[in-house]
Amino acid sequence: MSKVYIALQDNEESHYIVEAIEEDNADVTVIYQPAMIRIECEGHMVIKRETVEEKMGRDWEIPALHVNLITLGGNVDEDDDQLSLTWNN
């Protein structure tokens, strides 16, 4: 099966997002590259607004992900509370 992935700029805000992704998705691999954090995982990955807000300690909206987003791979399903990446094969 192909891997879904998301890459974020390596900064203060992204660390909270990465922490939230690690908590919500048990078997993700986090790869720290120069100035970039790549997170990949088999099949399915989800970013939940609630978890990110808890980590950051303030309100956060899913579209704010774009501020730090470099690239992503997978079919995107996005609503107000979560963004998930999947491959259908």
Partner: protein
Amino acid sequence: MTIEIKTATLEPIRNTFEHTRRRFGDKPASRYQEASYDIAPENNFHYRPMWQPDKLLNDPSRTAVVMEDWYAFRDPRQYYYGTYVQARAKLQEVTENNYAFFDKRGLAERLSEEVKEKVVRCLIPLRHMELGANMNNVLCSAYGTSTVLTQAFLYNGMDRLGIAQYLSRIGLLLDGNSAETLTKAKEHWMTDPAWQGLRRYTENTLVVEDWYEVFIAQDVVLDTLVYDLMYRQFDEVITEEGGSDLAMLIEFMQEWHKDTSRWVDATLKSTVAESDHNKELIGRWVAEWQEKAVADLAPLAEIAVGDDAVNACTEALNQRLAKAGL
């Protein structure tokens, strides 16, 4: 000629400060962690303070509450100087717009004389309580243990000065900058029988020495009661009486209280969960101060809102206490 671009990855030698690593492990730490945890000196002091030679600086025995680790707390808002200032600047910008709008459209003139008088009698004198709250929180900041708590106390103290100033500005908006309402409000605070209970309570908290008890008396008990009474129930009553424009001017206090309650609840919960000793001690303080506060607020609640008002805000306090495990 071909150019080959290669990236070389340099692993940082250390991800964070040594004391932060000891607490959170060797990984990139957040600014909040670096700015808050294990910052205040705890040992190897040269001198004892001349004003209190039986204790050290930052001595944890300035309160009867015992914590194994005073850094077991966490501010859910994660405020250190940077985030705190940003959050308040945002809130203040909205509030300044509201005040400017209120002034520009002359909304004060649309309020009836009765509503104005009620605001001057029931709301504006609160600025004196806010000054007391400022001193109480700054005391906790000065004598408290661990930066993770004391910084939050200091922010709270500063916010209270801000709120006192906003209350004064409501007065100035109502009287066209003559400060007449402020003089009247001061008179209410000093002589009006409805206010004497709250004034006595505020003055009593100013002489308590145990800083954690001050936190319970002020931030937990009194603030929950007063903010529910004035900024929820009183707001509803004034809206009923045709003064709904006032809501624009007190939104800051409502938003602020929601924000601060998250920190107060988290702090209380961590302390109570630490040990039975703390639970019993805090339970006793809460009971003592709650009894006084409810009795002292009753006359004000009656003229500001009505008969049942004190019961409604006691209900709000009990709910918060239950969440903290008391």
